[in-house]
């Protein structure tokens, strides 16, 4: 637990010294969403129908954008190697890194989503569900994405492969995330989708750190 907090403190401190990492993903998120009305037309009915999916896809793309950075800097200066060699469990360390990663990609998206939802014409009921689904879904994206990032951290152009590895695994989250919002707009029951998202969250919280730690060990030996 001590290590967990220490790593989080350290990474947040590093982040505060390099604020560009912090505002790039949300900026990208907003920009992608702004592009949709230009492509689909300004008809508010069309936008309203697609709003849930559009916000979710943008969140997914924004969280992929900076995945490469989770372990890159630490890998570059050798910190990661020290972390792998240290007596503390690597699972805890990698979980801490994912938490910080979520803090600067998932959380801003979550906070921005109501504004964007309003701009896309979502009713207020839908906005609450959108936030709830993002709250449960974005950690899953970060956890699964971190597995891919850990596998590709040693590669020169890992970014392209990373999205190929990770995007197919994101599909279930996308399905239930957007179906929750769509159901709430249609006045149907949303709790089913929310429960399943929570199940994904707990499952990936338990299993993903194991895979991340194993992949990091491999990437270090490369």
């Amino acid at each position: 637990m001590k290590v967990f907090i220490a790593i989080i403190k350290r990474d947040l401190l590093l982040l505060s010294r390099k604020p560009a990492d912090f505002y790039n993903p949300p900026l990208f998120f907003v920009l992608v969403i702004i592009l949709y009305p230009f492509a689909l037309g300004a008809d508010s009915e069309i936008l309203k129908i697609g709003a849930a999916g559009l916000v979710w896809i943008s969140a997914l793309l924004a969280s992929i954008l900076s995945l490469d950075n989770i372990f890159k800097a630490d890998y570059g200066d050798g910190t990661l190697e020290e972390m792998v060699l240290s007596p503390h469990p690597l699972v805890i360390i990698s979980l801490a890194k994912v938490v910080v990663y979520w803090f600067f990609t998932g959380l801003p998206l979550l906070l921005l989503s109501p504004i964007l939802g309003l701009m896309m014409g979502l009713p207020s009921e839908g906005i609450w569900i959108l936030m709830l689904s993002l709250l449960l879904g974005t950690p899953v994206l970060s956890l699964i994405g971190a597995i891919g990032a850990a596998l590709t951290v040693g590669l020169k152009n890992g970014g392209v492969i990373l999205s190929l590895l990770v995007l197919p695994l994101y599909i279930p989250v996308l399905i239930f995330g957007s179906s929750a919002v769509n159901n709430s707009i249609a006045g149907l029951d949303v709790m089913g989708s929310i429960y399943i998202l929570s199940a994904f969250f707990t499952l990936s919280l338990v299993l993903a750190p194991l895979a991340i730690a194993a992949s990091l060990k491999l990437s270090i030996s490369n």
Partner: protein, 246 residues
């Protein structure tokens, strides 16, 4: 038992073993294929709704089964690679990827050809089609990762982790997509009490499925031979063999 396993762990023994059994496998494969094709194209009656166009299932269904079967083989190999680090499991794993990807492609293409007259569209966003497509991307991802990492000893372990992550996700993806949308006809063979497919249609289908399995094994072993030669290219038995042949 362990002595037997140990022997298979040795590349030269395994290489010679492959050479010995390949001819028999070819004979069995062609026999099954001919019998299955005869049954599929001639003796099986035409479907009362779909006419003769249903006959594409004799390629489509075995290919779709194989696409999943091969991934399961890869997953079992991945477990062996990560726990016991058996060299032959590594070779089996990596030799399977391309074959599995091709089976998936065949299943998708034949399904699409079948879908055009039946559903009136080349592609529909139906659950089973979509999860098969996602499976194809998982295969491509595995290949891409393996090719991207230069040290192949590390690459194979990275691939093993990825395959295991995929195998946890495949059922999740499959059922999520199923809930999301379904148009595909339900399974007609795996109902245990009484299959809803006629017995004259069923037998050629099962024969074809077994033939496809043999085709997979043959391909796997050919790939494995190449992999063994590549990874053992510096050892004396490979050098001796090359000298003998030239």
């Amino acid at each position: 038992m362990f002595k037997f396993l140990h022997k298979f762990g040795s590349p030269p023994y395994f290489y010679n073993f492959i050479n010995k059994i390949l001819p028999y496998l070819y004979i069995i494969f062609f026999g099954l294929l001919l019998y299955g094709m005869y049954g599929a194209l001639i003796t099986a009656p035409a479907d009362y709704q779909q006419g003769n166009s249903f006959r594409i299932i004799y390629v489509h269904v075995p290919a779709a089964w194989m696409s999943m079967f091969v991934y399961m083989v890869m997953a079992s190999c991945a477990v062996v690679v990560l726990i016991w680090r058996m060299k032959m499991a590594q070779i089996m794993l990596i030799s399977s990827v391309a074959v599995g990807a091709i089976f998936t492609t065949i299943a998708l293409v034949t399904g699409s050809i079948w879908g055009k007259p039946m559903w009136g569209a080349w592609w529909v966003w139906d659950a089973r089609l979509t999860s098969e497509l996602i499976l194809l991307f998982l295969y491509i991802g595995v290949l891409a990762l393996y090719n991207a990492i230069e040290d192949k000893k590390i690459a194979i372990k990275a691939v093993s982790i990825l395959v295991l992550v995929g195998v946890v996700n495949i059922p999740i993806i499959h059922y999520s997509v199923e809930w999301w949308n379904t148009l595909h006809q339900g399974p007609t063979v795996t109902k245990f009490d009484k299959p809803s497919i006629h017995i004259d249609m069923l037998i050629p289908l099962l024969v074809m499925a077994v033939a496809f399995k043999f085709y997979y094994i043959i391909n796997l072993l050919h790939n494995a031979k190449n992999q063994i030669l590549i990874s053992e290219s510096t050892t004396s038995w490979v050098k001796d063999m090359v000298k003998k042949q030239s």
